[in-house]
């Protein structure tokens, strides 16, 4: 199997390090850094700067972000522009008595779902989001502000795992659609 890009980079770095330094020398420098870190604990300001630097580094590609990603917010999950809603199509369960990963009373979560990959503006990381429909009740009637239809990386129905036009109510008592949640599955690779 051909090594991945990251594996190639890792291998090159390792070889370079090995060729330019003795193993003991490396251990010595790492040990010095660990001791120094203990003697001079990082101040909160420095930590904040470091964190900001990381986000800035991840945000450096702002020119390539989608319009949704540029405008996404992380404070109100009952709005369509909440960052996890980058590829949702439906009514937000948080507007219907449920929450971002909670189905409203009397409904059932679908055991299967479509997924999206959305960027969190707070940490600049991308996460895999499971858009699980809540089923078994007629469609939630709520504010039109809670009816969302976004499409970052959304694919046609012949790629169903990332297609958001499907009523994902398979395996529930009935396929009546009520609303949609947006649960974090994990960090995207």
């Amino acid at each position: 199997m051909k090594p991945s890009f990251l594996e190639q980079i890792g291998e090159q770095l390792t070889r370079k390090l090995a060729s330019s330094s003795s193993r003991r020398g490396v251990l010595g420098r790492v040990g010095t850094a660990m001791v120094a870190g203990g003697v001079f604990p990082l101040l909160p300001v420095q930590r904040a700067r470091a964190a900001a630097g990381n986000v800035a580094a991840r945000a450096a590609d702002v020119t390539t972000l989608s319009d949704f990603e540029r405008r996404a917010q992380s404070s109100d999950p009952t709005k369509c522009n909440y960052w996890r809603h980058c590829a949702i199509d439906g009514v937000l369960c948080g507007c219907c008595g449920g929450g971002i990963h909670t189905c409203p009373p009397g409904t059932q979560p679908s055991p299967v779902s479509w997924i999206g990959t959305c960027r969190n503006p707070d940490d600049g990381r991308s996460y895999v989001i499971a858009y699980r429909d809540c089923c078994g009740r007629t469609t939630c009637t709520t504010s039109s502000d809670c009816e969302c239809n976004t499409a970052d990386r959304e694919m046609p129905i012949y790629r169903p795992q990332t297609s958001n036009d499907i009523i994902w109510c398979f395996g529930t008592t009935s396929a009546a659609y009520h609303c949609s949640t947006a649960a974090i599955v994990g960090q995207a690779e």
Partner: protein, 387 residues
């Protein structure tokens, strides 16, 4: 009466009497209105300027495009699918419902309505079918009117072939990894698959022969729209990708791929790429395409945006000559539209634009002028009869 004095009563009576007699001099007393019989309207043969609009997530509403008036209504929830028979004598609705509203026994069936009376004439039982937001490509009919093809998803995918002459489901064909229906000119249909290929199903009596094409588009990076178009009379399809690449394919057991062209290059612009901030005119919406088969023109709902804006409403309709692959016309819409369709006539074709405001704008396809605007409560989807 006890409150009135006799004199006041006489005065009042004389004033009323004068009013009646003066009115009588000016105008004859109108005849008494006659009792009426309740009756039911029926429809003339379906004209070219008829359009069925998905309205209010509960119904399809049939409009007269010339008058902008409602002709009748068919019941259909947001996940139901609808199709007009090629001879325009029947309208079919594929339905899923539960016996007790949101629970109970699930029933899937195909309803057959008489297009003249809108009476329900048959209900054909179906196996569980796919439930997705309605797209025309979920329910298609063979050009001879013999077969209906119903896309199923459970979530395994298949197509149920319904014999419309016998009024019964004939069989279900599994199409693993594939979806939607694009009918051939005769006896078969193709479906789009997740690897960018087609699965092709030839009907041979009660049997089917299934073949697979090689991938012809990049499904990972630039998939073709579900709402890609097919000319049902010829079986020629135009598969159109998110970036605007057009893949002409003559459908059949062995599909014949034509030369790919670009909606943007055909308009004298650079081909659109896949950058999220790469602004370009792109196709998009709930129903972005309409193929006027008699004129061989493709109408496309276009907007300016980056990649992944394939659901965004369009601000203009671009009209292409499919034969020469050139842009003929750009039509400004009164406001952004979610979907379009075009009447099949050549004399005075109309564009039906389902606006984001839920109004329907009826435009002359020739001049681009708005002829009517209707408070239709429209979603993005509408269908018209075939030529």
């Amino acid at each position: 009466m006890t409150c009135f004095s006799r004199s006041r009563y006489l005065l009042l009576a004389s004033v009323v009497g004068m009013g009646v007699s003066m009115g009588g001099m000016a105008k004859a007393i109108p005849p008494v209105l006659q009792p009426e019989q309740s009756d039911v309207a029926s429809l003339p043969p379906m004209g070219d300027h008829s359009v069925l609009v998905a309205t209010g997530e509960q119904s399809f509403t049939l409009y007269d495009g010339d008058k902008g008036r409602i002709l009748g209504t068919l019941p259909a929830d947001m996940v139901d699918n609808i199709a007009i028979a090629p001879d325009r004598k029947d309208i079919y609705v594929a339905v899923t419902m539960w016996s007790r509203g949101d629970h109970g026994t699930r029933e899937d069936f195909l309803r057959d309505y008489d297009a003249h009376t809108l009476d329900l004439t048959h209900e054909i039982e179906l196996p569980p079918r796919g439930l997705a937001v309605f797209k025309q490509q979920n329910l298609e009919l063979s050009q001879d009117g013999h077969w209906a093809f119903v896309f199923d998803m459970s979530p395994a995918t298949g197509v149920t072939v319904v014999d419309l002459h016998e009024h019964k489901a004939a069989r279900t064909v599994d199409i693993p990894g594939c979806a939607l229906v694009f009918p051939w000119a005769h006896d078969g249909f193709s479906t789009i698959c997740g690897d960018g290929s087609l699965t092709n199903v030839a009907l041979a009596g009660s049997n089917v022969n299934v073949t697979h094409s090689k991938p012809f588009f990049d499904a990972n990076r630039d998939p073709v729209f579900e709402q890609s178009q097919v000319d049902r009379k010829t079986g020629k399809a135009l598969f159109i990708s998110y970036t605007g690449q057009v893949y002409p394919v003559t459908l059949g057991a062995t599909p014949v791929m034509g030369k790919t062209w670009s909606l943007q290059v055909a308009a004298g612009q650079p081909a659109a790429g896949m950058g999220q901030q790469e602004q370009a005119w792109r196709p998009g919406g709930d129903q972005p395409f309409a193929w006027h088969e008699a004129d061989n023109k493709l109408y496309v709902l276009m907007h300016v945006g980056g990649y992944w804006t394939h659901k965004q409403e369009g601000t203009e309709v671009w009209v292409y000559d499919i034969t020469t692959q050139h842009l003929l016309q750009r039509i400004d819409l009164p406001s952004p539209a979610k979907g379009i369709t075009v009447s099949p006539d050549t004399a005075n074709p109309q564009i039906y634009a389902m606006l984001a405001s839920k109004k329907m704008a009826i435009l002359s396809a020739t001049t681009g002028q708005v002829e009517k605007t209707v408070e239709a409560k429209a979603s993005g989807i509408s269908i018209v009869p075939q030529p």
